[in-house]
Symmetry: C2
Subunit: 247 residues, 2 copies
């Protein structure tokens, strides 16, 4: 009996962290779409001016009667985002305590560098919680570029360009395939590593994957001065078994 | 004018490789669902007895009037699958030449160890082709287990358990987070590596992620004699910035 809730215990709402995918609204899953359209409260990370990439992806699915909870994150990466998540978690908790389900939008896949991880961390021990996986931009970039990433025994590495040069070089040198994320001002460093490792021709630059403004280009065609933070580089495996006459 | 097709050129069908996700049919994307239900021809990898995991995932969405093209793959991994893909590609090509769109089902994400890569390789230079990303079981496993995989500067490695011991150990030793796939009879080797690296407590075993029969268990609770090939181990990052009082 001890693990069964008392009958008079008020029932709380359920917390859902849903991945909304890389940008194309049609890359929401059927499940994310169902939960989103049914939720009474929808929360999402947002900039100080209220702009939210995650909300923009699902804008056409939102209804006016849904209550929206923006979680305002600091502009500068040097400022800690943790107090913002503390405040966001408190506001979400009040809705859950009131018996309302809350859907939290997360770009891409919630568990891969996702903002939802910081809310999960603060709320999952107190409220029923479910994470609904989403299409990660890291893998979607390979799909839209038509680049098979990994075959059979291949190892894939997903690494941020923000790593120091020797660490990033070492990780790429020991992978069959890789996706390098968070390029921004680190592009020139990454390009030089790829040149050293003989990976320049195989690699492709991908910006805004799955959006109408999507760019897929050779590394040599990119101006390092104009590389957004959320662009990435895909390095597909060279181990196509057909080329090697293997199974 | 030269890059515009002649008016009397017969139009071919379009080839779609769609990721159908890890198992829960509701984890198809809205786009994959739309393309699948609109297609006149649906192809998928299948075993010699006709059984197909990819087809089973979308079975409720198929219509009797859709033509199905199973691509029968050899049972033994020692037998080359390449002749099967040659035959499958030829059959798909005949439908495309006849002006019919063909949707090829692929478990998980098509570009991550996906069967569709072998058809793309054979057909994309002759027919208009589009790859629609799907939810990869590697990332979905972390989501259903409620395990944040990677924070901020973390490196994620996806590696098959089929690698030799020293290579796999080295890759895991140099990652912040990892997913080890294709466990099967390699489970005991992987468990011993995790023990050596002090990762046993942090790692979780995940079987049939997102299906009703899903299993999420500590490594120590698993009998190595009963580990299916398609099960995996998730090793989440230990670098939660909240624990470190960082941003």
């Amino acid at each position: 009996m001890s693990d069964r809730p008392a009958l008079d215990q008020p029932s709380t709402g359920k917390l859902y962290g849903i991945g909304v995918g890389p940008g194309d609204p049609e890359l929401l899953t059927l499940k994310a779409h169902r939960l989103l359209t049914a939720a009474s409260v929808v929360a999402y990370p947002a900039a100080a001016d209220g702009e939210s990439v995650a909300r923009a992806i699902v804008a056409d699915f939102l209804r006016p009667e849904q209550l929206e909870v923006p979680i305002i994150l600091p502009f500068s990466p040097r400022q800690s985002a943790q107090p913002s998540y503390d405040r966001g978690a408190a506001e979400i908790a009040s809705h859950l305590q009131g018996g309302r389900d809350v859907v939290v939008l997360c770009e891409g896949e919630p568990m891969l560098y996702g903002s939802f991880m910081y809310l999960l961390d603060r709320l999952a021990d107190r409220f029923p919680t479910e994470v609904v996986p989403g299409i990660s931009s890291t893998l979607a970039a390979a799909a839209v570029a038509g680049l098979p990433l990994t075959y059979r025994q291949d190892v894939l590495t997903i690494a941020p360009a923000t790593l120091d040069r020797s660490t990033l070089r070492d990780r790429l040198a020991h992978s069959d395939a890789a996706v390098i994320i968070k390029l921004g001002r680190h592009f020139a460093k990454v390009r030089s590593i790829l040149t050293e490792l003989g990976l320049l021709e195989r690699a492709r630059y991908v910006e805004r994957a799955t959006l109408p403004t999507q760019q897929i280009r050779p590394i040599g065609a990119i101006d390092p001065a104009h590389v957004p933070y959320w662009s990435l580089i895909v390095i597909p495996s060279a181990n196509n078994p057909r080329d090697r006459q293997e199974a």
